[in-house]
Amino acid sequence: MSYSPPSRFSVARLTASVLAAGVIWTSTSQSEAGVVQPELREAITRGQHEDLSRKATAYVAPKDLADLVKEADRIVIGRVAHSEASWHPTRKLIFTHASIVVEDTLKGDPVATATVSTMGGIVGDTQLTVSAAQHLRPEARMALFLKWSPEFGLWIACGASQGKFTVLRDGGRDLVQPTVRYVTESYVPFAEHDTRGCVEFGAFRDVVRSLVEEGEGR
């Protein structure tokens, strides 16, 4: 049999609330061509927006703060002391290895120094530039989410550039800026971000510690 809606592309809209035991469907009529009533949209959105927001991604795979905490073998806060590039011993790639003087270890065994390696750098007359890599500026203060890469035999940042957070000194406050805003906006209340996507250093550290403790079952 054939069934035609009363009005093509102008049919009823539906509010769907997925409940534990089933689905409740509620039809509403369209009253204003081209405009979805915001309150209806809001009702539809609630509880279902998470999936959509995670589809938003970069040419790096999207991670939120919990993803990064879970993936990291080591999370440190520190300052870049020096860096040096070299050819990888088995891959024909240049890596730059930055030595970090650690002031605080948020995950993993406490360490005084840590090394993070990033794709790209200069050796002799050759420079490798990688479109998804991150730069570690000398003297920069950072929060780094690190993991051991058995593929490369190196410590690398989780989620490409997303595992690097720059700590800024601004107006007497320490602020943390991600390389992808979604990373922190998912977990630190939106109102606490400034126009640059920065959040208070203390709030950021507390959220990370809390996520680490959750992961350790404490």
Binding site: V18, G22, V35, H49, R54, S186, F190, G197
Partner: protein, 607 residues
């Protein structure tokens, strides 16, 4: 101080007038700028090079494709098409050199495209370009493109979470040629993309300006000019430069974003590849969606990006072909707002951008006599931060003929991951046939006092992407797997094609006597579980859970009628603006006891 060979070429080829440069010329627009001896130096291949790309051998036969490639895809063709958008307009060639046994990116004398490098899956990116250059002059001598094995890629458009290979390849080939990320939403080199997006397949004006700056010809050089200057602000009574600002050239006549660049450590900028005409220059902080950390060139690592100023806009600036115009300007207010995300609905039939994504709102230029009427939902710091139902500002500003944005009219909250509430303000947007194809800005006045305009402006650069109507090919493809629930599988098939004015329908079944038939129509494909619903926890496809995008629901009869199946009439009205749009459909069987089954999806591309 000459920063690049490109600028030297530009100067050498300019004969129309003497070039006056009261400020040091900044780094040119477009290329990756690596710091070599403290000087920003662009990466580029020698002009007129032929770059031979080889493909990893697994791409030679569909039976050996890596698992990351959706069956039915044609990755080599898509990659070659991604390269061709650049080489079609620049004096450089990229040719398909066939297959190679190499699978790993690296300096081995071969320019490689690989989907088979296992190490890349752990690196955390979807795809990347690996560019090897001579450190003394920035000349590229080898470059590879690696697609991660941790994600899905396709060319069929049928896998909801897959990335379009041509779209990604066009982006990475831009890097391979030496181009930097762009902060213009809708540019092929914009550093963010959701799955399924295809906008990078077509170059934006900013992309064209970039590639033709890096690889100029006499013809393209003579068809454009440049603007340079310094951006400053008053700080404690002293005028200081603004480093790391995003600076745009906006066509004064039609509002299109024609080119963009970033100011250097001294606040100097150089916009190249700008066709002769009248432009307004606008500067904004690089405070999102693109952030300083998203730039590739190492020269940016030492620039102290000023992201605390309010936007600045000039009056009309005249650009003449083959000449450099100088224009200094200042920002006068601190930044107090920033647009970070938007979504919109148009037509009332579910054409939209995603909330909390950074994809442009892509719309076909309306034909004569028709217009689009949309609601825009914007969020970001300083935009209705309390989620007030009736926000007082910031007020929308019209910047492009043919695009009228008014409001805000209403506000509220969205719920994000982790239960975080995202406030929004709703604006009204109308797009008429007067609009020019290209990227257009959304602009808000961030005034806080009683006088409109007393304060800065914020913009979402290139957020609206107007495209010309292109002849689409009608497609009707069943995809994915629905949820069988407790009643067995629900099948979906189609009859006819989604062509304007022609019969087209979908048939679904079988339905039980106590089941109600529903068909959901939405812009998005999806793969989410219908969690919490008895018997449906393993569903692979559930378009309904992808709301809040505007959508339609067609309600069928109980039990599917005498045949136990329902045919939904999906015939497309003969309205030209619908051509080219894609819709996804999924049927639901909902029983009187609230049990649910779902069908596979149906993808309809309207011709």
């Amino acid at each position: 101080m000459i920063f690049s060979t490109t600028l030297a070429v530009l100067g050498a080829m300019s004969s129309a007038s003497a070039i006056s440069a009261p400020v040091a010329p900044a780094a040119p627009h477009g290329p990756i700028l690596n710091a070599i001896g403290g000087v920003p130096t662009p990466l580029s291949w020698p002009i007129n090079s032929t770059i031979t790309m080889r493909y990893d051998a697994a791409l030679g036969d569909p039976s050996t494709f890596p698992a990351s490639i959706v069956p039915g895809s044609t990755p080599r063709i898509a990659c070659n098409a991604g390269a061709a958008v650049w080489t079609a307009i620049a004096p450089i060639s990229i040719v398909d050199g066939g297959l190679t046994s190499a699978t790993s990116v690296g300096a081995d004398g071969t320019n490689l495209v690989t989907f088979s490098d296992p190490a890349l899956a752990a690196a955390g990116f979807i795809a990347a370009a690996f560019v090897f250059s001579n450190v003394t002059d920035g000349t590229i001598f080898e470059s590879d493109i690696g697609f991660s094995g941790a994600f899905l890629f396709d060319t069929t458009g049928t896998a909801p979470t897959a990335f379009d290979i041509q779209h990604v390849a066009a982006h990475e080939y831009g890097h391979l040629l030496g181009l930097e990320h762009s902060a213009i939403v809708g540019s092929s080199l914009f550093p963010f993309t959701p799955p399924g997006a295809r906008w990078a397949r077509t170059l934006a004006d900013d992309d064209i300006a970039g590639i033709q700056t890096l690889y100029p010809t006499v013809q393209t050089f003579n068809a454009v000019g440049a603007v340079q200057g310094q951006l400053t602000r008053a700080f404690g009574g002293v005028i200081v430069p603004i480093p790391g600002a995003h600076i745009l050239a906006i066509d004064s006549v039609d509002g299109r974003v024609v080119a963009a660049t970033f100011s250097d450590a001294n606040g100097n900028y150089l916009l190249t590849g700008v066709p002769a005409g009248l432009y307004n220059l606008q500067a904004e902080p690089l405070d999102g969606p693109v952030l300083p950390g998203n730039l590739i060139g190492t020269s940016w690592a030492t620039v102290a990006f000023d992201t605390t100023f309010g936007e600045a806009r000039t009056g009309s600036v005249t650009v003449r072909n083959a000449q450099i115009t100088t224009r200094n300007f200042s920002a006068v207010t601190p930044a107090n707002a920033s647009i970070q995300a938007m979504f919109a609905n148009c037509f009332g039939i579910g054409v939209s951008g995603n909330p909390l994504t950074t994809a442009p709102l892509t719309l076909v230029k309306p034909p004569a006599g028709l217009s689009y009427n949309c609601s825009l939902f914007l969020n970001g710091p300083g935009i209705n931060p309390t989620g007030a139902p009736a926000p007082a500002g910031p007020m929308a500003v019209n910047v492009s003929p043919g695009i009228t944005i008014t409001g805000p009219f209403q506000g509220g909250f969205f719920t994000g991951a982790g239960g975080v509430m995202f406030p929004y303000a709703r604006y009204q947007m109308t797009i008429t046939p007067q609009v020019a194809p290209g990227q257009h800005n959304i602009v808000l006045n961030t005034y806080t006092g009683p006088i409109l305009g007393q304060g800065g402006q914020i913009l979402f650069s290139g957020a609206i992407d107007i495209v010309e109507t292109s002849p689409p090919t009608a497609q009707s493809i069943v995809y994915g797997t629905g949820c069988s629930g407790l009643g067995g599988p629900l099948t979906m098939s189609s009859t006819g094609l989604p062509t304007l004015g022609a019969p087209y329908s979908a048939t679904v079944g079988p339905f039980a006597a106590n089941e109600h038939a529903l068909l959901v129509t939405t812009e998005f494909a999806g793969i989410d579980n219908l969690s919490g619903v008895s018997g449906c926890t393993s569903a692979l496809l559930n378009l309904g859970s992808l709301l809040p995008d505007p959508f339609g629901v067609t309600v069928g009869p109980f039990g599917g009628g005498p045949t136990g199946t329902v045919t939904f009439d999906l015939s497309i009205p003969n309205i030209p603006i619908l051509a080219g749009f894609t819709f996804h459909h999924q049927a639901f069987a909902v029983s009187t006891s609230a049990a649910v089954r779902t069908s596979p999806g149906l993808r309809s591309v309207i011709q």
